[in-house]
């Protein structure tokens, strides 16, 4: 018997761990910690990203971890790394706290467009995966690079939708579609997703998850937008699972074309 809709079980599985949420939230750029905590809650996210930085020895500022519930998977990013070596160093530092061995590789060596360096990202992924990290690399959507990341031991790939922080949406859509088609790892669309409709578009296409940060953090009401993203990701996923019908260039009536009242 076919499952009823309410019985659909559709977890996201990464490195053997399952998640009911397919929306990942970044924690950067929030105006205050309350907005961050409220947004994490309303997003329903079970995986959030954080960064590592030098502590400010003058201000003694708050540690962000106290605003992230303990049951949420922490994924430390390697932002600030300009090459594989620096990314590996950051990963080793992150591991010291033993909070999580999940690492988002982010290697950027271009200060204008902030595009990830796929070559260095592959190197860092190979080293860290061999050391036992669960590695999720942020990448420019390129099929050959994605295949190398699979070989290097990545647990998912995270192609950018468009330039980071740009809110431009799925500019790289057709290249991400190729990754979804060809790569047997979860594809998580990261960067550039600026509105719930764009997240839904990625999920309808078959992306396994979406990560957003800037859009939520800089909205007038971050927690409200986090909730909207959560629902858009869920709606897009259901749309994908439903087997969306194809677009047509001509019209097809929705109502029957027989039995009209004026027929003789």
């Amino acid at each position: 018997m076919q499952n009823t809709i309410s019985q659909i079980q559709d977890p996201l599985t990464i490195a053997g761990e399952t998640f009911t949420s397919r929306f990942l939230l970044g924690t950067g750029k929030f105006k205050n910690k309350k907005d961050l905590a409220d947004s994490i809650e309303s997003s329903g996210s079970q995986i959030v990203t954080v960064a590592l930085r030098r502590i400010d020895i003058e201000t003694h500022e708050d540690n962000i971890l106290q605003y992230i519930p303990k049951n949420i998977k922490l994924m430390v990013n390697t932002s600030g790394a300009r090459n594989a070596k620096e990314a590996i160093r950051i990963a080793h530092l992150a591991k010291e706290t033993t909070l999580s061995n999940w690492i988002k590789i982010e290697v950027i060596n271009d200060s204008k467009y902030l595009l990830p360096d796929n070559v260095e990202t592959i190197k860092a992924t190979a080293t860290l995966a061999a050391e036992g990290f669960v590695v999720l690399p942020y990448m420019s959507p390129d099929l050959y690079a994605a295949r190398e990341l699979v070989k290097a031991g990545a647990s998912a790939v995270m192609p950018l939708g468009s330039l980071i922080g740009s809110n431009q949406g799925l500019k790289a859509k057709e290249f991400i579609r190729i990754l979804i088609d060809e790569i047997d790892l979860p594809v998580i669309v990261d960067a550039g997703i600026g509105a719930p409709s764009q997240a839904a578009e990625a999920m309808e296409m078959g992306a396994d998850a979406v990560l957003a940060n800037t859009a939520v953090a800089t909205a007038q009401n971050p927690a409200l937008l986090a909730k909207a993203f959560r629902q858009a990701v869920e709606a897009g996923r259901l749309g994908y699972l439903s087997g969306l019908p194809s677009q047509k260039s001509d019209a097809h009536a929705s109502s029957p074309l027989t039995g009209f009242l004026y027929e003789k």
Partner: protein, 65 residues
């Protein structure tokens, strides 16, 4: 003695790494330490003695995407 902490000169009159960290962080449980490019695990902070010219990196978690 003079230390270089997070890239800046810092005058410090204590002795152990533990004392230094307590003096600059309210949340030492989430601080990670490199001393002269090698990671120092938390259970060794107390016994790690500092000396003039040591380079120390103290990092922690911040918001990020």
């Amino acid at each position: 003695m003079k230390l270089i902490v997070n890239g800046r000169d810092k005058q410090f009159d204590g002795l152990s790494l533990q004392t230094l960290i307590a003096s600059v962080s309210k949340n030492p449980e989430h601080v990670i330490v490199e001393l002269n490019s090698g990671i120092v695990k938390k259970d060794r902070w107390e016994q790690t003695q500092l000396k003039d010219g040591d380079r120390i990196e103290l990092v922690t978690f911040v918001g990020g995407g």
